[in-house]
């Protein structure tokens, strides 16, 4: 699915009206089937950008085109249909603790099935093989019938990603998919995500804290700082100098030390400190 942003600025709905917009007017185009990594220090507006792309909130200024349509002039029903064709994976896995993994994964299918089919699926899982395959891709097949609250933070995060494989979506928006994973798991999860997106011809936009992961797996890097576009380059052309400037005063994030408390990211899964090296 094609994405076009023209002068799009955004403000978090919970922000005070006098606060500076989290995203300053931004021009960005993502072609169909393209894979883009969004990097930048904490508070740069990465998540806000993702929320705007997911049609989760209207831009404060500018126009957004998703798949050639402006979502915010559509009637609500059509907007909800459009939302069914994109998949947003928030950083905190959105899984009710008492739900079983199989149900949580099959919930990715909801936009493409009717109410009765989804109720039947609660009674007896509608497509156990598909759920199994999606979990298998993230090395979690043995957890199929576990309850979510029996899983570790990293396993929950991968269940959240496995849901993408069942979603009837043409655009995957993944927010910090690796924040609770160790380096080996991170690499595996990233590989799976990228391969599966490629196999389906899905457009993939992922925000990442791990710069080395972004450079290794994504052909195109969009860097944000203070809500502005710092650079938008093919991965091969990103230099160490640019990265240092991007993370100036946030070196610990580039180097991989845990962020200081005032930048603390999400409450739920404590991100495992991961040592990162720049190329």
């Amino acid at each position: 699915m094609k994405l076009e942003l023209d002068g799009v600025a955004a403000r978090h709905p919970a922000a005070r009206p006098d606060a500076a917009p989290a995203l300053q007017p931004l021009r960005l185009q993502v072609a169909e089937g393209e894979h883009v990594a969004v990097i930048g220090p904490s508070g740069a507006g990465k998540t806000t950008l993702l929320m705007v792309l997911a049609c989760a909130m209207p831009p404060a200024a500018g126009t957004l085109q998703v798949g050639g349509q402006n979502p915010w002039v559509m009637p609500r029903r059509a907007l909800q249909r459009l939302r069914g064709r994109l998949f947003l994976a928030p950083q905190t896995p959105p899984l009710p603790p008492r739900q079983r993994v199989v149900t949580a994964v099959l919930a990715g299918r909801l936009p493409s099935i009717g109410l009765w089919a989804s109720l039947r699926s609660l009674f007896y899982p509608s497509d156990i093989p598909a759920a199994h395959a999606a979990l298998e891709a993230f090395d979690l097949a043995d957890k199929l019938f576990e309850r979510v609250d029996r899983l570790s933070g990293g396993e929950r995060q991968r269940v959240g990603l496995a849901r993408a494989l069942l979603a009837p979506a043409a655009l995957w928006l993944v927010d910090e998919p690796l924040s609770a994973l160790d380096p080996t798991r991170s690499r595996q999860a990233m590989q799976t995500l990228v391969q599966q997106a490629q196999a389906r011809g899905v457009t993939l936009v992922a925000t990442l804290h791990q710069v080395d992961m972004a450079l290794a797996h994504f052909p195109r890097i969009v860097a944000l700082r203070d809500g502005r576009l710092a650079f938008d380059l093919p991965a091969a052309e990103v230099t160490r100098d640019q990265l240092e400037r991007l993370y100036a005063q946030h070196e610990h994030e580039l180097l991989g030390a845990p962020a200081p408390a005032d930048h603390a990211a999400p409450a739920a899964p404590a991100p495992a400190p991961v040592v990162m090296h720049c190329r």
Partner: protein, 284 residues
Amino acid sequence: MELAPRAPLKAPVTAPDRDPAWLARVFWLGASLVLLWPLMVATEFRPWILVEPANLKVTGQFLATFLPPAHSPEFLAMVARESWRTVAIATAGMTLALVIALPLTLLSTRALSVSALSGRMARGPFWLRQAVRGLLIVLRSVPELVWALVFVRVVGLGPTSGVLAIALTYGGMLGKVYGEILESGDVHATQTLLRNGSSRLQAFFFGLLPQNAAELTSYTVYRWECAIRSSVVLGFVGAGGLGQEMDNSMKMFHGGEVFTMLAVFVALVALADRVSAGLRKSLG
């Protein structure tokens, strides 16, 4: 590896010698006592009259009639029959109340609003929610006793009016509290489902319901327990069940029968308590 900069060294400071919050605490304690006083006067709150010798004697005489508890086979059979009817009134009333409450909850809860996902709720849905909330207020602000008196006139003496009275009042209560439970829980899973294009009912069944199942269940069982108590009171106005029998026994000054029936109530409430604990455990 360079770590985060260290905090600059500070000169040692003395510990504060008092908690800055204590004055406010003393003030609010005093203020609440002052506010409580006129309420006590208005309700003629004089608990010591309970222990005056003349009153103690009356109480003692009343309680003495409780012993021995009535236990003739015919009476026990009647109590069993009427207890069963009481449980049936409470259960049927709760079932009807659920039928009323569930759709109203789904209509009124903010957690399932699609337009509120992206900022403010749209005007139409907002007013619909307000209207449903208003309906819930009307349903629960009329006490079940009043509904029962109304229905006793309409459908005659008997359990039907008790069932209808419980259904209406409890429907209003359940609808309100369900809505609050759903909104106060974590809505992240539900919102994500809605953002990914699920319908409201799908988001309810796959996100909101599993998230809040234990709280909803325990509140429902607690309300069932209240419905049992309430069906007793409704029996006093002729809505059938154990309450009606208790009313008769009281009027005939058969303390032993009252005592036996009270014991049955205690057993029913204890049973509801165990059921609730068991359900919570299996869901939590």
